[in-house]
Symmetry: C2
Subunit: 236 residues, 2 copies
């Protein structure tokens, strides 16, 4: 009945949405920014379709997922960058010991590809994300020592590249996102998303398969070297 109770109730309800292993697996899978069908998620999580249907109901009702019905398919994706950030933040906080050790060659290959470069919802992450972020900071385009913000030179750099940044949006331009594999922050926020989009549009990198892993192309290596002084060796 007190103010605290209402807040506690709401907090517990929100956390409760994430507090189930199956739902957590769905949210983590959806971090790839794609829309999955209910069936795909059910197979991914290893539960019956009926079970997953109910989980999706809860996540949608809780505002974490957006859904789109197409024919007999139910497509579902994260409701937005804020939700992705929430999941990322929480996931980044789990103890490193809980991290999985690959057991097969195939797994090890996939894991190292993910560690080299991947997307983190809408921005670049993994080694690639860190290297780009550090290069931006080294060139005075990003202030990372006293917080996390683009400098005026940074704004000009984006402008010169023809990457438009919507500065009126409520979303912060630059935000630090803690990397799982590197345990260091990389560029997220509107600028991180715009840069990532540009990297794909300009052919700097391409997705490996259908997942979140990303590979830097030869053209990408040239562009990153020229624009940010990044050596190709740092990306491997």
């Amino acid at each position: 009945m007190t103010a605290k109770d209402a807040r506690a109730r709401a907090l517990a309800a929100l956390a409760g949405l994430l507090a189930d292993e199956t739902r957590a697996a769905c949210l983590l899978a959806l971090l790839d920014q794609r829309a999955w069908t209910a069936g795909e998620l059910a197979r991914h999580a290893g539960v019956a379709a009926s079970t997953l249907s109910e989980h999706l109901d809860k996540l949608v009702a809780g505002g974490l997922l957006a859904e789109e019905r197409q024919g007999r398919h139910r497509y579902v994706r994260l409701a937005g960058a804020e939700v992705a950030q929430l999941v990322e933040d929480l996931a980044a906080r789990i103890a490193p010991e809980a991290v999985h050790r690959p057991r097969t060659l195939r797994e090890a290959g996939a894991a190292s590809a993910m560690a080299r470069g991947r997307t983190c919802y809408d921005h670049l992450a993994g080694r690639l994300g860190i290297v780009v972020t550090d290069a931006l900071a080294a060139r005075g385009l990003l202030r990372q020592d006293t917080g996390f913000a683009l400098t005026d030179a940074g704004l000009a750099w984006f402008d010169a590249l023809g990457i438009g940044l919507d500065r009126r949006s409520r979303r912060p331009l630059a935000r630090a996102c803690l990397d799982w594999t590197e345990r260091r922050p990389h560029l997220a926020g509107a600028a991180g998303a715009a840069l990532c989009r540009h990297a794909f549009d300009a052919g700097w990198c391409v997705r490996i398969g259908s997942g979140r892993a990303v590979r830097v192309t030869a053209a990408g290596e040239r562009a990153l070297a020229e624009l940010l002084g990044i050596e190709a060796a740092a990306l491997r």
Copy 2:
């Protein structure tokens, strides 16, 4: 058995710690940065001492709380600023509709005092936090438009005030913390904590009662006006 499963398990376990109303109420209460006894929390949450004892076991085991035994008392507090940030982040995300409407005069008074000024674990929040943050930004001491970072002038300002900032710590110097009541970011991180500590040490503000609410003193109004050009009217 896959990597996703291990991550999902850990994520669900972490969220599960917050997914109970009683535990959530404890964590929210502990945001006042004080150490509470088990009995106080039990009374606060409205459950039996035995029930709360088990909740504390889980929160401590999960690393969210630190405990200290003194005689027959069990003092417990948040394990650190990161945990406070986690709880704050999650709490800030709950829909405004869930917020409580005060029903009595006493409640309304307490709520408005909290809205005017309070601490958010270790930094200033509420109207006070926003006004200070905006004033820092207006004077070019804090860059808020392209992210969230202190400027060189900002570093000099802290230095001139004799507020030491540990720049070697892993904790970010400046970080945005979203305010519940104002729905806008205010200064958190090492600089926010140092500024808050200084504000209390210098007598700029004092706690109202035993809670998180804070009142600006006459000396505080003078200091804020002189150092940051903040008008006293903005604080009311």
